[in-house]
Symmetry: C2
Subunit: 456 residues, 2 copies
Amino acid sequence: MKGMFDFSAVDRYLETHLKESLEEIKVFCAQPSVAAQDLGMAEAARLAGNMLESRDFQVNLYETKGFPVVFGERAGTSPKTLLIYNHYDVQPPDPLELWTSPPFQPEERGGKLYGRGVSDDKGHFVSRLLAIDALLEELGELPCTIKFILEGEEEIGSPHLPGFVEANQDLLSADACIWEFGGVDHRDVPLQYLGLRGICYVELSVETAAMDVHSGLGGSIFPNAAWRLVWALNSLKDSQENIRLPGFYDPVIPPSPRDLQLLSELPPVSQEYQTRYGLKGFLKEYPDKTALRVASVFEPTCTICGLTSGYQGPGSKTVLPARASAKLDFRLVPDQHPQEVLQQLRAHLDREGFADVKIEFLGGGPPARTDPDDPFVKLVLETSRDVYGEKMQLVPLVGGSGPNHAFVHTLNLPVVTAGIGYPGGNAHAPDENIRLDLYLKGAKHIARIIQEFGNS
Amino acid sequence: MKGMFDFSAVDRYLETHLKESLEEIKVFCAQPSVAAQDLGMAEAARLAGNMLESRDFQVNLYETKGFPVVFGERAGTSPKTLLIYNHYDVQPPDPLELWTSPPFQPEERGGKLYGRGVSDDKGHFVSRLLAIDALLEELGELPCTIKFILEGEEEIGSPHLPGFVEANQDLLSADACIWEFGGVDHRDVPLQYLGLRGICYVELSVETAAMDVHSGLGGSIFPNAAWRLVWALNSLKDSQENIRLPGFYDPVIPPSPRDLQLLSELPPVSQEYQTRYGLKGFLKEYPDKTALRVASVFEPTCTICGLTSGYQGPGSKTVLPARASAKLDFRLVPDQHPQEVLQQLRAHLDREGFADVKIEFLGGGPPARTDPDDPFVKLVLETSRDVYGEKMQLVPLVGGSGPNHAFVHTLNLPVVTAGIGYPGGNAHAPDENIRLDLYLKGAKHIARIIQEFGNS
């Protein structure tokens, strides 16, 4: 890497244009775009496209069998190409009553901006546009070609993105990729997330009759959908957290010595988690902070995300439910694969006597990781020091999921994280927010990555 | 019993005043009175009181710690007193989308009247008023003293009625009691229900954190309220339907030879149930029709009436729920008791490692039965023949529940059923309805019971 460029003018631009950038986020976030509920998706895709076009990106909206992919490209002065992945869909905002201000009316309070999507992921997208604006203002042109790909199905498991990437490898060809998110931990130390777990999201459902029945009539002789569901779920995981699908753990690769070393360098999080989430404890006793870190990312999971059956209102209703369903996500570690899990799940339920339990696949993808010693990772770490006062810490794998497998294994790109997130951001929860100081830092880091990458 | 009175003028009155009586039901049912949701209760109690006052009953509304008890009394010419029990509360109307016409806008269609409460129990109450109107018109006065007691908490397990009965034994003293319901089976043969199972209705709930968490973060290390609930429920009953509370079955009295004889005289219901409810099968294979009857009433149950946790909307949301709850009813047979079941439940959950699962008691009462050979039962059976063309068949115990224990064991009354119900009435379900032909028959039977009882 050549000697570092002087970013003082770029930084000044970012600081003086913060307010405009926040206004851009507010407009984007005021447009609901809940993929799970097919709410406002086309409008949000158009907005994202317009935002890129206003920076002279060549923009195309590609239809998929789900929501469109927004693609934008602008050439730069070097032969290098950087691919930036974001998404314009957001999580459902409920429970609405727990929001301090309405989720789709973004509001600044106390140095933060609140609203659904301000962090995950619309704010990340806009912070990158702000960095690009600053570089264009200072340099007149981009130091490398930048390609943006925004999908509209990240929050529902990206069912169509891997196929899109597979079919459009030339369009998406690049030398490196910046992922949708990034940020700091609870100490404000920036982290570099080098891998994501995979996910297999399903809905299990049972129907035992055409209608609900008076529980006094049917309780002893009619099948009860809620009981069928409870027993089926119980068969999936025991109370010691062992997932009981035969073969489920076979492909699991344990963490390497390098992974364990990286995890051991990270700070303890136990107290932080307990305070932040009001936890009454952890699932197990962990011998040390590294063991907790290992468990939190290198173990696959089976999580019940939702349960519904029968009467759920106040007081009592004596009804025997005809229908019951559960939403479940399996988080997968290398080298598990969602299609294998689906097959294991069907076979297991059949074998355990739950052929009546239907499985609907709601999305997923395999896990993937980037080599911690890749040169692009090194560049991103080096550029972080100038912004955060210290170098990003490497996290070999995180608990969340995303369609990085297609970028790592189909496009063969190193994929790095850099962004505006922090642990209090309430992603996927009420009062989602960003801190304005970290927003500026995230934009400064992106500007440095683009500039140094173009000149590397 | 003396020679039967000539009921032709009474019957004519009932037939010519059907329309007015239905209008009275419509007004009563247009007033929602959902005890579980504290909706319209005071208004419904006042309406019931007014309906009795307009027949010159002395009416009092007694406050309880829950909803008021409506009591009305009118003296008759004989020293006999008949106590009639009804309730003015109804089941919640949801799921609303499955109603053909709005639940609280009663509507006649095809010889039926539809609406929440038209059968259970407002229609039953009004049919009795119609019978009284007819007798007063023909006789000028009542042949026996009639006392009405209407409670407002039947659909939530009558938490305050037993205490009210205990404390007001003089007020309620009588020689016999007519229960809130009655009717015919799927062949239109009238049935005499001689006992009710008890019930213990609870809500189980678990809270593992102060807020829902992103499932990617917490899935491997945070407790999940939904999983805790599933495992706790699973510990209560195995998939062979054995309820696992230690001591639960100890007080169960098996059916007597007389019970078995009475059950064996009843028609088969298996095909009827399968067709009516769109069942995909029964819980077990039953050797004969009597075995199914025995299982359906002489076995206690543990029914999940509702499940709720986490995300329940369309599509996927990757959330780890902080809270989960289930509504459960236990149907009890002689001599089980709800307070014993509550103690067994708490002890069982603690022993199985579910001290974190809270139990809220939402109502209940013990089972109770009337002697099939009681003289009042005989009178009710004899009077039925003239209305239905055949004598009521005796059913020693039914699957449903109600506060009959206080009437049978505190007031020491024979308790009989006589009414307007039929199996297609959808009690507790959408499109609750009554058949107008059976409504008239029910009123005719009640008129005969009152007249013959006063003169017995």
